[in-house]
């Protein structure tokens, strides 16, 4: 076991070992989990939103079709970064405003006092007295919603395209067999569209992985924040002074993201095989000469 009591009296590997196991570095290692957690939370939500919006955008009734197409068109057209900055802010202030109106109904003044957005203490979300992890979790949840909204729209477009790509002859045959519209949807279209959606979804997945540093913009201490913070030159005000080491930290991030890409590629190759089972050769991208 290393003794890290007097870091200025040790050198070489022992120093490096102590340096890499400081509480600050532990927070850095933990932030990798935050990134993985974000991807794990956003991906299923985005697929769900995608399915809903794609189905809505193909509906027969105008009133169902409108929100689906509007959502997809709007999010695809507005820069991501605007959404990432707008959604968490609007959600946070919206929630606090509603809580203020219901919990402090005796206060009649506006929540806007000059530049300040002021709600009563018990309407704060989370409460000022809540512990730090509650604040962190709340911030993370807002980020997940923002990511899911943006990627859900892209997924919606991909899935709508995949639904349209399922051969019409098959759907008509199913109807000829006497299946209802619902049965055709669930038994024929829903099951067959995945192979068409997969290339687009795999592309989206890669973009999602690459977009995770945007967490840093939302004030969440992710891997990019820590790489910059830990890599910057440190004077002897710190226990472990060192020159500018940012290049090594960013190199580490580079390796991490490359590993993620490599693992994802393997995963998608496997999924492609799975979804191709039972499909005719003409639409199997794995087969040569297709």
């Amino acid at each position: 076991m290393l003794s890290c009591v007097n870091p200025d009296q040790i050198s070489g590997l022992a120093w490096l070992g102590c340096y890499l196991s400081t509480a600050k570095h532990m927070a850095f290692y933990q932030s990798f989990l935050i990134v993985l957690l974000l991807i794990a939370a956003v991906a299923p939500l985005a697929i769900l939103l995608g399915l809903l919006s794609a189905s809505a955008s193909r509906a027969r009734f105008f009133l169902i079709r409108l929100p689906g197409t509007l959502y997809i068109a709007m999010v695809r057209g507005i820069p991501d970064i605007v959404f990432f900055l707008f959604v968490p802010l609007a959600l946070d202030q919206g929630i606090e405003y509603l809580r203020h109106r219901s919990l402090c109904s005796d206060q009649t003044g506006s929540v806007w006092q000059g530049n300040d957005f002021v709600v009563c203490d018990i309407a704060k979300m989370p409460l000022s007295s809540a512990s730090q992890w509650v604040h962190d979790f709340y911030g993370f949840a807002l980020a997940v919603v923002a990511f899911a909204l943006v990627f859900g729209a892209f997924a919606g477009n991909v899935i709508a395209g995949a639904m349209a790509a399922v051969p019409k002859a098959q759907l008509e045959t199913a109807e000829a067999y006497g299946m209802t519209r619902r049965q055709v949807y669930w038994r024929i279209m829903f099951r067959q569209m995945w192979i068409y959606a997969l290339p687009g979804l795999s592309n989206l997945w890669m973009i999602l992985i690459k977009a995770t540093p945007l967490l840093f913009l939302l004030g969440i201490q992710d891997i990019v924040y820590w790489a910059r913070e830990l890599g910057g030159a440190k004077t002897s005000a710190f226990t472990y002074p060192h020159p500018d080491w940012r290049i090594w930290y960013f190199l580490g991030l580079l390796v991490f993201y490359l590993m993620m890409t490599w693992v994802s590629e393997r995963g998608f190759t496997y999924l492609n095989k799975q979804f191709s089972r039972g499909q005719s050769m003409a639409i199997n991208p794995q087969k040569e000469g297709a």
């Binding site: 400081t22 509480a23 600050k24 530049n115 300040d116 000022s128 007295s129 004030g219 201490q221 005000a237």
Partner: protein, 240 residues
């Protein structure tokens, strides 16, 4: 019966010891010796010690929040935290948006730092400064070419790798870096700009401002503020 017991427990929890008001202290955590995040992953520095002492005197329960310098004022006015205690000079522009307490650190000079042996004219050269600082404003109006960076550390790195000819920042931040650079860096100029450093508060938060002012004044009166300044900025630092 169960309900009564439950109710008593709840009442007990709520009535418990009178809880001090929680105040969230916002800081940058990247500006030693004012404030930085130490290797234990805690906010440390002059303002950490000062803030904890002010909260003790004002009988407030303080928690520390780290926020990027860029968005430190917007996040205060939208209520993410209640104070800015981040080496922020009191200026007229900032005072239009937020309020300041009395100064807790007297005006101290800003410095130009460049690579040793380089002959730099700070009024025509490329000068690095942190975005949204009074130093960035000064460089922009000095005739030099301003290159802005989001964090203080990046402004120093820009001089070291040749992207900028000089950096302009608070002398208190630059001096330890120059001293430890082994003659790689040198101070090439010194100007007094801006007023002292105060704690930033929402304009609507008059009660907190009054409490903090009382605490700052009492630390000035008993000399403990000067002791703290000397501890973090050296014996040569300006005191009250």
């Amino acid at each position: 019966m169960k309900k009564i017991i439950l109710a008593t427990i709840f009442a007990g929890v709520l009535a418990g010891p009178a809880l001090a008001e929680t105040v969230r202290m916002g800081t940058e955590g990247a500006y030693p010796p004012y404030n930085f995040i130490n290797d234990k992953n805690e906010v440390d520095g002059f303002e950490r010690e000062l803030g904890d002492e002010l909260c003790r005197r004002a009988n407030l329960d303080c928690v520390w929040v780290v926020n990027d310098w860029d968005s430190i004022i917007p996040n205060l006015v939208s209520g993410n935290y209640d104070t800015i205690i981040a080496g922020m000079s009191i200026t007229a522009e900032r005072d239009e948006v937020i309020d300041f307490t009395h100064e807790y650190y007297p005006p101290s000079p800003s410095m130009y730092v460049a690579l040793s042996g380089n002959n730099v004219d700070v009024n025509t050269a490329v000068v690095a400064a942190q975005t949204g600082t009074i130093q960035a404003g000064h460089v922009a109006s000095s005739g030099a070419t301003l290159v802005e960076f989001a964090s203080p550390d990046e402004t120093i790195a820009a001089v070291r790798n040749g992207e900028a000819d000089a950096v302009f920042a608070d002398g208190d931040y630059l001096m330890p870096i120059v001293e430890e650079s082994g003659n790689e860096l040198a101070v090439i100029g010194e100007i007094g700009i801006g007023g002292g450093v105060g704690m930033g508060l929402r304009e609507s938060d008059g009660a907190l401002k009054a409490k903090m002012n009382t605490a700052i004044d009492s630390m000035k009166a008993d000399g403990s503020l000067n002791t703290l300044i000397k501890k973090w900025f050296g014996d040569g630092a300006q005191t009250f």
